[in-house]
Amino acid sequence: MTIDLAQFHEMFFQESAEALDTMEQTLLQITEGTVEKEQIDTIFRVAHSIKGGSATFGFTGIASFTHTIETLLDLVRTGRIGITPNEMDLLLRSVDVMREMLSAEQYKRPLDEQAVADLQDSVKAVIARSSGAAPTPVPAPAAVEPGSSVPVPAAPAPAAAPGAERWRIGFRPGENLLARGNDPLRIFRELSRLGEMSVRVDAAGLPPLAQLDPHRCYLNWNLELAGPREREALDQVFDWIGDDADIRIDAPVIDAPVTPAAPRAEGSAVAPKPAPEPMPAAAAQPAPVAPAAVKAPETRAAGGEAPKAAPSESTSIRVSIEKIDELINTVGELVITQSMLSQLMVNMDGPQSEELRNGLGHLERQMRALQESVMRVRMLPISFVFNRFPRMVRDLSQKLGKKVELRMTGEQTELDKTVLEKIGDPLVHLVRNSIDHGIETVEGRRVVGKPEAGTIHLNAYHKGGNIIVEVIDDGAGLNRERILAKARERGLIGPDEELSDDRIYNLIFQPGFSTAEQVTDVSGRGVGMDVVRRNIMELGGNVQIFSNADHGSTVRIRLPLTLAILDGQLVRVGREVYVIPLVSIVETIQIRREQINSVAGGRAELLRLREECIPILRLYQLFEVEADTTELDDGLLTIVESDGQRMGIFVDELQAQQQVVIKSLETNFRQLTGISGATMLGDGRVALILDVPGLISLFESREKQARDDRQAAVRHAA
């Protein structure tokens, strides 16, 4: 059996992506000319970690590139150069390139090698300039091949001066350290470059060869290192280890210099003379040299299994989303079972029924708490999405020659990971639109007496079981008259039709609608806002827009906290119960016969409601079930809306409104237009969840088919 390091690539890519986000955010926080030590250390750590990881996994290109970046950062860290706009630009571009390189490795995509080489050369040029006439060579990264062993560096480690500080490091590998691509040898090699190092190994846990799992690390180490003044230098070496080892770094002690344990081999191929290493009293290790002196059997037997790694101080773990979804699914099943039990109890009498009812009441409360807790596991702060905007706003405003300040509030507001992933692109569209069309140029703002720099405010907060995300700008606002004129020109509204401001502003969500006089590569092609709304509607949310001429606009997005649970209205048709998402329902009304117009020879029905004609969908016809009534004035009409289109769904009865746990039909059966999923009701019955946009498009395609059939019949008769 060989170990496949590829299984750990995913974690490396994920952690590197997060680290690059951190690097980018920290870079953007740097004010020109002044770099906080903490900031440069953070950035340096990212480059160093990615270099180490990529070298371990054999991504030589990334290791080489990050090594160059690390060299540049080291010059900043040591105060030899500052971060001017040029260096800032180089570093931000380097972040992009590292993302590209990682992505190319991850998805086996082609990489623009020339772009990488050009940028690397630019960085090297800065490094060379800062080093004067004789450029400091940038040596190749220490390890560029997995498992490779590079000889001791030519440059000897700085010798410890008498009285130098000596750090004591305890290194206890966890079981998976080696298997995850972390190699203590590589780490110790890096440490040895920081200063004079002595190594003491504890092999008490090393089992006989026959019992040894060769992919597991059984050895522990105690190191002493003289040299580095800063703890950060040590932390950076161990940075990539994460939770895979227990690392204890004790404050340095100042004492007489200690002779290194083993002599430097200097590349000798001859077995060295037995070199007595300083052995700690506690380290039960076989004594060297003579077989008679070997105490390994006793120590190993006494030691039994390898020593367990000390508890990690980390407070979080990385869990796959599949495991969490499985947990959520199981809890969903439990909720349904509990609901069924409660339903059974309704008509139950008997001496113990009261106790049982109380018990079920407790169970219900606990289930709700459990469900909320489990749902919270999938929740992530919206900062994961917001974090991309400082860079975007900086780049775009520079490109457009505008001054824009970004303000973000509520970044810690949490929402479901899936919602979070899908909200990113719509928000990007909105922010780009705000910068391009909303915020005026510096001159334009000056003319109307505004500060030169416009503001874009991203705000997030919870409200009534939903999350609200707002994109607010203090730009020119929407031009009401221009939108109206464009809508009339495109025939979206009648020439004399008057609309409320709300309706007018909503016209910008129409496909292809743009009032921009100039189409730029930033925005203005009219593709975007309709996609924004569609994406948000698909998430079960909605979007509103408010605007005030010369004062700016606010786009307000309301999103559900999760996609696993839905606020639904239960409706009954005959013996069947269906769930309509509450977010889609406008109102439910009783109608009178005279409000109905039949068109197309009685095949289609329209409800006249407040100057609107709304098509009616008889659910019993669509799903071919037996209804209580087929008379429209005997039942109820639930008016639903999607993408600006309304439709009346004819049902027998409205039942409760309740949160339902969504079960995917697609996973368990197949996708059906008009149905987004199913749920289990308290009495054990399955109810289909209606997909309103799908129903509307299904209704329209059926109407079109009927129309075509009629026309064909007419042609045939003629």
Binding site: A210, P276, A296
Partner: protein
């Protein structure tokens, strides 16, 4: 890894030749091979001439092998210990564990 028996005598040293790589990707097979050699209960010469790459997993395996040899009283010697191996031994502090009882084996004679 290959093995070359010296045909002269049943108890003649067995030459165990390590490959170019002794890393976590190789250790499973190497462990199986080394166990086989141990069970032969003959003196061994570990020829690491070709060894270029070694990591902690590889060094740990060789250390466990060396200890097993010592415990069984199986004589063995390194011939030679290339730079990569020396560096691993030094940095991981395995010098004492990897000592070969050279006195019991005439390396040159076996080679």
């Amino acid at each position: 890894m290959t093995t070359e028996d010296t045909p002269a005598a049943a108890n003649a040293p067995r030459r165990v030749v390590l490959g170019t790589s002794c890393t976590i990707e190789d250790v499973a097979q190497l462990r199986t091979d080394l166990i086989g050699h141990l069970e032969a209960n003959r003196p061994m010469i570990i020829d690491a001439t070709r060894l270029e790459r070694i990591d902690t997993a590889g060094a740990q395996l060789l250390a466990a092998f060396a200890i097993d040899c010592l415990e069984r009283g199986t004589a063995f010697a390194w011939k030679p210990r290339p730079a990569a191996l020396e560096e691993a031994i030094r940095l991981l502090g395995l010098g004492a564990l990897m000592q070969s009882p050279g006195a019991v084996l005439d390396i040159e004679g076996a080679a």
